[in-house]
Amino acid sequence: MRDVTVPSPGTQTTGEVAGPFLAALEQSLPPGRVLTRPAELIPYESDALTAYRERPLAVVLPETQDEVVAVVRLCHRYGVPFVARGSGTSLSGGSLPVPGGIVIGLNRLNRIVRLDPRQRLAVVEPGVVNLAISQAAAPYGLYYAPDPSSQPVCTIGGNLAFNSGGAHCLKYGMTSNHVLGLKVVLPDGEVVSLGGESLEAVGPDLVGLFVGCEGLFGIALEVTVRLVPRPECYRTVLAAYRSLAAAGGAVSRVVASGLLPGAIEIMDALAIEAAEAAVKAGYPREAAALLIVELEGETVQVEKEFAYLLTVLQDPALTATERPYEVRVAQSEAERLAIWKGRKAAFSAVGRLSPDYIVQDGVVPRSRLGEALAEIERLSRQYGLRVANVFHAGDGNLHPLILYDGREPGAYERAEALAAAITRMCIAMGGSITGEHGVGMEKRAFLPEMFGEDDMEAMYRLRRAMDPLELANRGKMFPGDPTAAARPGWLPHPLERAGVISRM
């Protein structure tokens, strides 16, 4: 590919630059906010894609927007690359440090600047935790809709950079669909405002371009998000099937029925086993696949639609193999939460079945889900590795969990090869290499397989127009300097091990 693989300028910060740069950094910030000792840097070497690690030159912990701008300007003056980081929950290696560069830790920029329930919006700093917005808005009957599984810890800045999704994207969209305005510092230190507070805009959608830029266009300092009313009523059904194909077929029928569920999720037998072992959600254990469908809205309407949903799922015209052998309707909020608890815990729970695993995030057209799952099963046998499937069926977003034992020689490489095969299958089916985790470090080799040369070049020109020195999150999204990578070797994220966060 032309242009794009040209080595980035100055892949290492040389000793001559590092000394004066660090001195200038320390001068511009209060004491104790520039970390340089190895012991202090270790926690920042990796994010939730723990197979990759890299020690940064330093970690900077600004507490104000002005401090972030000052740090970015220093990086620009000295030509030092930087990576913005929130809670480090990126699953694509998005906040992996750059060799010779610094990490700008934004967790201390965690002020909710303004909450305006009447106009349904909030202005927040990038270090605000996703769930904290909903908690602040809850007294007004509002919430922030995007719900990545790491929402108790992940920050809005990271959500924004990687356009995070969640279980409710089909109806409500991803992060991008909920950001109205931004104040950002570009990689050369210029501060610009994009968008505003209105749901509408004139002129090109620059906010839309910035969201999902994976940190390559700079750092968001302030984010205006829209809030939505908490639905009056949720109705949730869990259907157990004897085959994965039958559950997939049910998804097609629900979609064709004219209903618009807030969430449609599927778990396969291995994922069910893991979830049961971890949280005892009370799932039917012998099921080959579980389907979760949730409707939400005004009570009187949801009740009507839910009754219809149950007839769609249990249509007498279906054959015994197509029909669920068990259907459970959540009779209370507690039962509903129990259904979701198992689903949300499924990922971290897989750790109980296998010492190590890789999660893949590809998307296929919904009508090809069955075909995709059969192919994953075939690949699983071919590579001799177990794969658990938990996925957002409503929007075709797969999350195969590839189980392996890192202590076994060659196992990691085999798991990675299997993940690559699944990624390529998604491209071949007309889907995407990533639904919600982003390209980051992990999938940068595949972006040029999904897009053509001219497409890649146009994106790269945008990157260079914003950041000619490629200082902001260098080495991410675009294939490039392989030395910026990593040493294979899996270590679960501590929060993940504790079951606080998960990968879907």
Partner: protein
């Protein structure tokens, strides 16, 4: 004025390469945005029409940019689906590309979002004549920069849109509407704020100045026909305080009302129509300056979108002065041929970098 009428994507690329300055025209439903000035080549895309792919089960379709929205709507309707952002000027021939480039969504975008929330894939010819693809054809996708969104509202200045992919939704089985008059703006806004923090699923929420300082809220709901009446009852309870009366619309009459609204048929002939993004909190300021004028107003999308129609004799500078004084932005949709953007926009420095990357020679004017 040179007019080029490409019939293929290659033609578009050639046209871009051989024209120093050009402006794109689709259906011509918004002439202020599409008419080429002297010395500017008019790129007439009308031949680039037709649906490329439509899988109802995917909630996704792909079509060439100059496909009339009316054609798409008819196709989607056969499968009970629709474009939830409520595209404008459909009967006047608006095309998909024009709707994206001008970012023209109607009252119905209140429920699920605007053009930006439903365009998922794009192919466009950039200023160097390269055919570029962004986004994809699946409803969820986080790969690469979000070029489809960038093109929303771009007015053809970052590239010539040639193909677009959209997400669609199942259309509600039936609709019903409620008209609620208020004696003044204040109680109408208070009612709007109450709705904003209540769990009602409104398809549309418009606020319209009526005679002598009074205002009316227009609310639209959609869903199974059997429950609409009960839902309206509940809405009336919430709105009872401050409202003067209630009128219900349904069936043909209701559909006709909203159809006329999306065709902008309320705009008097010859008036200059300006789109102004706002928030409901800004409406008192805006009303204070407009109440004694001949400007015809409609506050759509829950008070987030002001449509202002100025009498034909209005001076452009007066319109600009008003917007600037309030710190608002505006785009002229109908009016004398001139620059459609009336005010500076946020992020100009960012835009310049984007422009430099995609249209370095400044071909798209």
């Amino acid at each position: 004025m040179a007019i080029l009428q490409p019939t293929s994507l290659t033609d578009v690329q050639d046209a871009v390469r051989q024209s120093e300055r050009l402006r794109v025209r689709g259906g011509g439903s918004k002439p202020t945005l599409s008419t080429a000035a002297d010395g500017v080549t008019q790129l007439d895309l009308t031949a680039l029409r037709g649906v490329q792919e439509y899988e109802p089960e995917e909630f996704v379709f792909t079509a060439l940019a100059a496909t009339p929205v009316a054609e798409i709507e008819a196709l989607l309707a056969t499968h009970g689906q629709y474009l939830p952002f409520d595209p404008l000027l459909v009967d006047r021939g608006a095309t998909l590309g024009g709707v994206v480039a001008a970012n023209t969504a109607g009252s119905g975008r209140f429920r699920y979002g605007g053009v930006r929330d439903f365009v998922i894939g794009v192919r466009f010819v950039d200023g160097r004549g390269h055919l570029i693809r962004g986004g994809g054809k699946v409803v969820k996708n986080a790969a690469g920069f979000d070029l489809p969104k960038l093109m929303v509202g771009s007015l053809g200045r970052l590239g010539v849109l040639v193909e677009l992919s959209f997400k669609v939704f199942p259309r509600p089985a039936a609709y019903a509407s409620l008209v609620v008059p208020f004696p003044h703006l204040h109680p109408a806004l208070e009612a709007l704020y109450r709705l904003n923090t209540s769990a009602f699923d409104l398809e549309a929420l418009d606020l319209e100045p009526t005679a002598e300082g009074s205002f009316a809220l227009w609310l639209r709901i959609g869903g199974p026909a059997a429950v609409l009446s009960e839902r309206l009852d509940r809405l009336q309870n919430v709105l009872a305080s401050g409202a003067m009366s209630f009128a219900r619309l349904q069936g043909e009459e209701e559909a006709h009302f909203w159809r006329a609204r999306r065709e902008l048929s309320w705009v008097p002939a010859g008036y200059c129509l300006v789109k102004v993004p706002v928030t409901p909190g800004r409406l008192p300021d805006l009303e204070a300056r407009l109440v004694a004028t001949d400007v015809v107003r409609l506050y759509s999308v829950g008070g987030n979108l002001a449509w202002l129609a100025w009498p034909p004799t209005s001076s452009r500078t007066a319109i600009q002065a008003l917007l600037n004084a309030l710190g608002l932005t505006g785009m002229m949709l109908f009016g004398p041929p001139d620059e459609p953007l009336l005010t500076p926009l946020p992020g100009a420095a960012f835009f310049q970098r984007v422009k430099q990357a995609l249209d370095p020679d400044g071909r798209f004017v």
